[in-house]
Symmetry: C2
Subunit: 227 residues, 2 copies
């Protein structure tokens, strides 16, 4: 059991190092040697978990499909807002998450193992379909189309703000993105109840972390695929 | 004079080849040898125009700041819509344009010579400021903020749709992006007059091409920096 816990931790350390290296050098120029140096693990340990650079990249991409910290809310649209704002808070702080965006935007990398975009689009479309069933959406809204557009726009906001070296603006920009989208999506009565403040992501995430440290890992997050 | 025309044409051929190679391989993995092979020019001709791979990339980026084909309209917001829709029509058809987006999203490349985003954001902010002065914008709109958000979202829509291999959807997606943004930006009387149909870009571009072939190069485009 102790050995298993240690293996999970080692796997995580390797993935985080791989994320940082992919993020910094791009997929093509990233080397296993550099990842080993950052992770501070042996070659044997790395190859026990991941057989190749491709597998490392797949590992990074799969970790990025996370809605950790987002808890169920009375309004489904609030959950949708929370997912985007919690990520906006976490991505600049977690190389594993920003690496996955970089990998998806890297043509060479995505030819090899795809992107996390289809997963995100389906997830957001599911959230919006839930909001529609709850009467929160204007009748004209198509969840799949809006999800595709929003995930694309969110990605562009992240790429451009990190590209312009504007640290710390992502949460503000993503909050504005929601404000641009919401009036065309939400019924007015729901619209005015939504919290889209730029610090919403930080508050939700902190509450989640406090809850976790109090209860062990007792908090039940929003399931990624709620069927 | 003939020699000058030929030099301009050779420069263009080299830039288009470089654009295609950057687009396909990414900046880091692109080689001068591959660009030479595509362009079908001599090494001497290439180095006459561009001293290095960096200079080629800078050349590609500067070509991408184009609003060719967009003509003045009674409503400044229509010009804004036209810029984004004409580009959505042209980018999938012109490797030089899509290469510039790829170069901007490539961390290594943009560390070396920046991106075309600040230029685009300033240009769009200028268009929106013009629209505001003409009474076309809702009073709460900040042209600089909206421009940053829109250029980011446009970029994300291009990156995600080309990343998902969804050829031919860019014009539809960008039209939807305008429809998502416009109700929060335009005064109602202007909103209903705007043409945001997905084929608007193709129509504007074709009219421009016909006009050019009729008149030589007589059409006066929207100036990139209208002071």
């Amino acid at each position: 059991m102790v050995r298993q816990v240690r293996a999970v931790r080692t796997r995580r350390i390797i993935l985080e190092a791989a994320g940082a290296v992919f993020d910094e050098f791009g997929y093509e120029s990233a080397t296993i040697a550099e990842i080993l140096a950052r992770a501070g693990v042996t070659k044997g340990a790395l190859y026990f978990h991941f057989g190749s650079k491709e597998e490392l990249a797949r590992g990074v991409l799969s970790e990025a499909l996370t809605v950790e910290g987002v808890l169920p809310q009375p309004l489904r649209l609030q959950e949708w807002v929370d997912v985007g704002l919690v990520l906006a808070y976490r991505v600049p702080r977690e190389p594993l998450l920003s690496a996955s965006i970089r990998l998806s935007a890297d043509r060479r990398a995505r030819e090899l193992f795809g992107t996390s975009w289809p997963g995100w689009i389906d997830f957001v479309a599911g959230q919006l379909a839930g909001a529609r069933d709850g009467g929160e959406l204007l009748p004209c809204v198509d969840p799949q189309i809006t999800a595709t557009l929003f995930v694309s726009a969110w990605t562009g906001v992240e790429i451009v703000s990190s590209g312009l070296g504007e640290g710390g603006v992502l949460e503000r920009r993503v909050a504005m993105l929601y404000e641009a989208f919401l009036p065309g999506i939400a019924v007015p009565g729901v619209l005015r109840q939504l919290d889209t403040a730029p610090d919403r992501g930080a508050r939700v995430w902190r509450a989640h972390c406090e809850q976790q440290s109090e209860e062990g890992s007792g908090a039940v997050p929003v399931a990624f695929y709620r069927v």
